[in-house]
């Protein structure tokens, strides 16, 4: 069956309705919420602060650590609390995707901790988490060359689409998921994963659609950051 019309009526290159908010956790050094459709991520940043365990300290600069996890009730079938192999891997690729724009060279022996939790999941959770994390890092005043912006693109049945939701991921003809992240200022792609089945040509088309979507998403991130500080200035 050709996928002629998206389940929720979006255009194939259209992202879901998005929302960003910065400064949601007063106790944290930086914090943010990012929502795309029904997927909601929260992120908090602590640091620069002492690194534990001590052997991870680096005289050449600060150490970035990320934790990503799903809350137990963010998914239909309860997720057992605590890290899984999936969440451990996503934690790692989240840190890898954010590191290229962060300049932690001044933070010798110190660490920056980024915590990302998904409170409601409807596919695209790692992308939402990275978007929230980048906003939280900026809110914490970290030296950054750019924000990082993330999106999942892919293929549902026969169509290349942007920002798949869970219904699309579960399409009966199969779906390919290609999460990516980038610095829209430099064009550098800092996260790229894929599982499914696509040709080289399709991948290029999908990533280019994702790059366009990232420019839109970055506006949401920047507006949310501006909103906090214009609010504070009043």
């Amino acid at each position: 069956m050709p996928y002629d019309k998206r389940f929720d009526g979006r255009k194939f290159e259209e992202v879901r309705e998005m929302e960003g908010k910065v400064g949601i956790i007063p106790r944290a050094d930086g914090s943010a919420m990012f929502r795309t459709g029904k997927t909601i991520a929260i992120a908090a940043v602590y640091g620069p602060r002492k690194v534990l365990p001590a052997f991870m300290q680096n005289p050449k600069g600060g150490v970035l650590k990320c934790v990503y996890d799903l809350l137990s009730f963010s998914v239909t079938e309860r997720k057992r609390p605590g890290p899984s192999r999936r969440s451990t891997e996503i934690s790692k690729v989240t840190a890898d995707s954010l590191a290229p724009v962060l300049d932690l060279t001044k933070f010798s022996y110190l660490g920056v901790d980024v915590y990302v939790y998904i409170t409601q999941a409807d596919a695209g959770t790692r992308a939402a988490g990275i978007n929230a994390a980048a906003m939280a890092l900026a809110d914490a005043g970290m030296p950054m060359k750019d924000l990082i912006t993330s999106i999942a693109v892919g293929k549902v049945s026969d169509k290349i689409v942007v920002d798949l939701d869970k219904d699309e991921e579960d399409h009966e003809d199969g779906a390919t998921d290609l999460p990516m992240a980038m610095s829209t200022r430099t064009g550098e792609i800092t996260l790229l994963q894929m599982d499914g089945n696509m040709t080289q040509k399709e991948i290029k088309e999908a990533v280019e659609m994702g790059m366009k979507a990232c420019i839109e998403i970055k506006k949401v991130q920047v507006e949310a950051l501006k909103a906090k500080y214009t609010e504070a200035g009043k």
Partner: protein
């Protein structure tokens, strides 16, 4: 800070201007944090914020409660909520938090667990409540307990077909509750007792007593914490303060 807080208390005042038996304002409860949960709620007491969610499942009952559903309570003090909380398996404080909330709800008989029996000795509903702290500005215990109760109040049963839960499909049947058990924690700072310590007061506290109160004003669960003792008079006074202090929280849940 402790000396300052104690001096202010001796003067009959609190550092944030509240009365001794008063919760911070506003106390806010909102629902439907996650559309994947059978029930969920967000509670803010001042700047302290906690979310809780209910997931339901079916299973075989324990032999000593063959005609009753089961309640399970978990808590995670998320590292987002304080620089003092770190990722990893729950420590003693986190487990104590979950168990205080658990007993307050379980022992009060707030949930009608007999109505959650599907076939005696064979199949019953399991209620799993998970509590996550979002921002720690003191007194996570009362915020967690209120969030758990609010999430249960918000919870419905999922669809059940041939004894299997249909994930993502909800019925309109509410989790059967008799009333709401509400927790109030009294903190002992020096010689004074106060309700709902903020973060600075909590750090200065020598002891605390958590009291779970039902609608009739009966007490169903208590927990003393902290490494300083309390006299019988202090305990009596603290229970009285807790019974009074939960009244406005009951209104917030309505």
């Amino acid at each position: 800070m402790k000396k300052y807080i104690e001096a202010v208390l001796l003067n009959g005042e609190r550092i944030d201007g509240r009365k001794f038996e008063e919760f911070r304002k506003p106390v806010e409860v909102s629902y439907d944090v996650s559309n994947k949960a059978e029930g969920s709620a967000r509670v803010k007491i001042g700047k302290t914020e906690v979310i809780a969610g209910v997931k339901m499942d079916v299973g075989t009952p324990y032999p000593d409660s063959a005609d009753r559903g089961n309640l399970m309570m978990g808590a995670e003090r998320l590292p987002v909520s304080s620089p003092e909380f770190l990722p990893g398996p729950p420590n003693a404080e986190t487990i104590e938090l979950a168990r205080i909330v658990d007993r307050g709800i379980r022992e009060s008989g707030m949930i009608d667990l007999k109505k959650l029996c599907i076939r005696e000795g064979e199949l019953v509903w399991n209620i799993i409540v998970d509590i996550y702290t979002i921002n720690d500005d003191g007194n996570l215990i009362d915020a967690s307990a209120l969030a758990a109760v609010a999430a249960l109040k918000n919870a419905v049963l999922p669809e059940l077909v041939n004894d299997r839960v249909q994930w993502g499909k909800f019925t309109k049947t509410k989790v059967p509750l008799n009333f709401e058990a509400i927790n109030a924690t009294v903190y002992k700072i020096g010689k004074e007792l106060v309700i709902d310590a903020n973060r600075d007061e909590e750090a200065a506290a020598d002891a605390r007593l958590s009291v779970s109160v039902s609608e009739t004003g009966s007490v169903h669960a208590m927990q003393k914490g902290g490494r300083i003792g309390m006299s019988i008079d202090e305990i009596d006074k603290a229970i009285g303060m807790a019974i009074e202090a939960v009244k406005p929280l009951r209104e917030v849940l309505k």
